[in-house]
């Protein structure tokens, strides 16, 4: 941690000093120092990027396509994104003005917050949810307002809950479905109510749909495709999860031209453009990787059923995650807090999971277990967790 009373240089920004470090960081440090750890803590696919995608990027580098692209991103890629979203969700985005290629959804989220917030503006964040939402709001001068979601609702956010937390200062609601960490999804009907609420209160909807292709039950609903949503919705998506491309750092934002143009202004000053080889790879992903997506989806689904079954068998109640690649079992029956559970499990059985509190206070009786790992790892982890539970229960 940086020290505020350092004598060697001037003090750092108070905003940054006050920003809490990620709850995941601490677990990483402990786990990294241990041997023979089975990790269910990884938030990225265990597959390598499909070869045809990697090959396309290598080819582009060979041909010397190593310059900047348009600030908005390669037009060819934006056109492919536009076609892709039309094909999947019948939502129409103009590739010239309504799509911005970013350095992952992470950058897109940051740009969005900086583009819509003035100091003191509030943004509603349903929790448990991804670790970056609140910090991005704070760094943009906004105020995160947490709305807790519950396992019995499948971690969907409800209008009743929003009502209680909406104020005159509320500017936007962040939606992250399919959800990291819960695997929860929201149906079109559920989302429509949120859209109607946002219209009534004149709010932006920032919808992080990075796990849209990893849905195992029902179909994914793109928020922007709902009646009344388009003009106030920013869809964030990318290539990391569906195409196993986390390290390439390519994502995109789609929304009303004025918002995209504002985001592009910041992006042009701070990032200039997303990596060119990555954009070429992303183009190949959209054009020729559908079979790979399907194959990975099938394997994730088998692991999902296996791990959820395993948790329920050992008495950790686990709601059925309909999307993403996380199980989010409740560890309430163990009598331990999620932090203590995760820490003891790591030291005692060398299984790394992420305590639910890393994703907000609403996650305090849960652990996040990623099944983006091999079947043998899942089996080994389940065995070790069962041994751990037997120990603490007697």
């Amino acid at each position: 941690m940086e020290s505020e009373n350092s004598v060697s240089h001037p003090a750092l920004s108070r905003t940054v000093l006050e920003l809490p470090p990620s709850g995941i960081r601490r677990f990483f440090d402990i786990a990294a120092a241990m041997q023979d750890v089975v990790s269910l803590g990884v938030g990225e696919p265990d597959f390598a990027t499909p070869w045809s995608i990697r090959e396309a990027a290598i080819y582009s580098i060979e041909r010397g396509q190593t310059t900047y692209t348009s600030n908005y991103g390669l037009l060819e890629l934006r056109r492919a994104i536009s076609k892709h979203l039309m094909r999947l969700y019948e939502v129409e985005y103009n590739p010239d003005t309504e799509i911005l290629v970013t350095v992952g959804v992470s950058e897109a989220l940051d740009l969005a917050m900086r583009s819509i917030l003035d100091p003191g503006d509030e943004v509603i964040v349903p929790e448990p949810s991804y670790v970056s939402y609140k910090p991005c709001i704070s760094l943009a001068g906004g105020q995160p307002v947490v709305v807790e979601t519950k396992a019995e609702d499948g971690f969907a956010v409800t209008v009743e809950a929003l009502e209680k937390h909406c104020s005159k200062k509320t500017k936007a609601i962040i939606l992250g479905y399919p959800s990291n960490p819960t695997g929860g999804c929201m149906s079109a009907e559920q989302l429509q109510k949120i859209v109607d609420f946002a219209r009534l209160k004149n709010l932006f909807l920032i919808s992080d749909e990075i796990y849209d292709r990893l849905v195992y039950e029902g179909t994914h609903c793109c928020v922007a495709s709902l009646p009344g949503a388009y003009e106030r919705t920013l869809v964030l998506n990318g290539f990391s999860k569906a195409y196993a491309m986390t390290g390439w750092r390519v994502g995109y934002a789609c929304g009303p031209a004025a918002l995209i143009s504002a985001m592009m202004k910041i992006h042009a000053y701070t990032m200039l453009c997303a990596p060119t080889a990555g954009q070429k790879a992303a183009l190949e992903a959209l054009n020729h990787a559908e079979n790979s997506v399907r194959e990975m989806l099938e394997q994730y689904n088998q692991r999902r059923l296996l791990i959820v079954n395993g948790f329920n068998e050992m008495g950790l109640s686990c709601h059925i995650p309909k999307g993403a690649f996380y199980a989010f079992p409740s560890i309430a029956s163990s009598g331990l807090s999620s932090e203590a559970f995760a820490e003891k499990l790591l030291y005692d059985q060398r299984v790394a999971v992420v305590p639910g509190t890393a994703f907000g206070a609403a996650g305090s009786s849960f652990i996040r277990c990623s099944y983006a790992t091999s079947l043998s790892n899942i089996n080994l982890a389940l065995e070790r967790i069962a041994v751990f539970l037997a120990k603490i229960r007697c």
Binding site: F28, A31, A32, S39, D46, L297, G310, A358, T373
Partner: protein, 170 residues
């Protein structure tokens, strides 16, 4: 709008695709992985085995790594097709030799492509000269010895990187 509901293979194919990736996954595991009854999965596997859809289970072995010398050769064979049976008679005959791993009928300048395995070059040479070329109906052979294996049956034979993801990430 296209239907996105779980574009996943039929349940019957799913058992096969799991076993083709790893034949040691148990019926119990498969039942859990596919959300089906154990009885049902066991019955399906048995039916596959009986009907020959699943021919048998074996391990993929890197013999070189095991220190066992094996010589492989691809032999292209030109055949004079026979009345009524075409290439079948010769192909079946070739297939019965234990040295022969695979036999395919192919298009192009040759008719059959034969994969042969032996303990050493001399043994394989003798097989081609004494057994294969002398079969009635075989007009010519062309033998290609395998020098290095890169990938076989979807398994890479080059050492790949281990899982180098960080242990815990958001």
């Amino acid at each position: 709008m296209i239907n996105l509901s779980l574009m996943i293979s039929e349940p019957t194919d799913e058992i096969l695709s799991i076993l083709s990736r790893d034949a040691r996954v148990t019926a119990e595991q498969i039942a859990k992985m596919t959300g089906r009854e154990l009885k049902e999965v066991k019955a399906a596997i048995e039916a596959y085995e009986k009907s020959g859809v699943i021919k048998r289970y074996k391990a993929i072995i890197d013999w070189e790594k095991a220190g066992v010398e094996k010589v492989l050769a691809f032999i292209d064979v030109q055949v004079a097709p026979a009345r009524e049976v075409g290439f079948d008679k010769v192909a079946f005959r070739i297939s019965r030799f234990p040295e022969v791993m695979s036999v395919w009928l192919v298009s192009g300048t040759h008719d059959l492509r034969v994969l042969v395995q032996g303990d050493n070059l001399r043994e394989l040479g003798r097989f081609v000269a004494e057994k294969l070329s002398t079969i009635e109906g075989i007009r010519a052979t062309e033998t290609h010895f395998m020098m290095r294996r890169y990938k076989e049956d979807n398994d890479l034979f080059v050492d790949s990187d281990e899982d180098n993801r960080l242990l815990v990430t958001p």
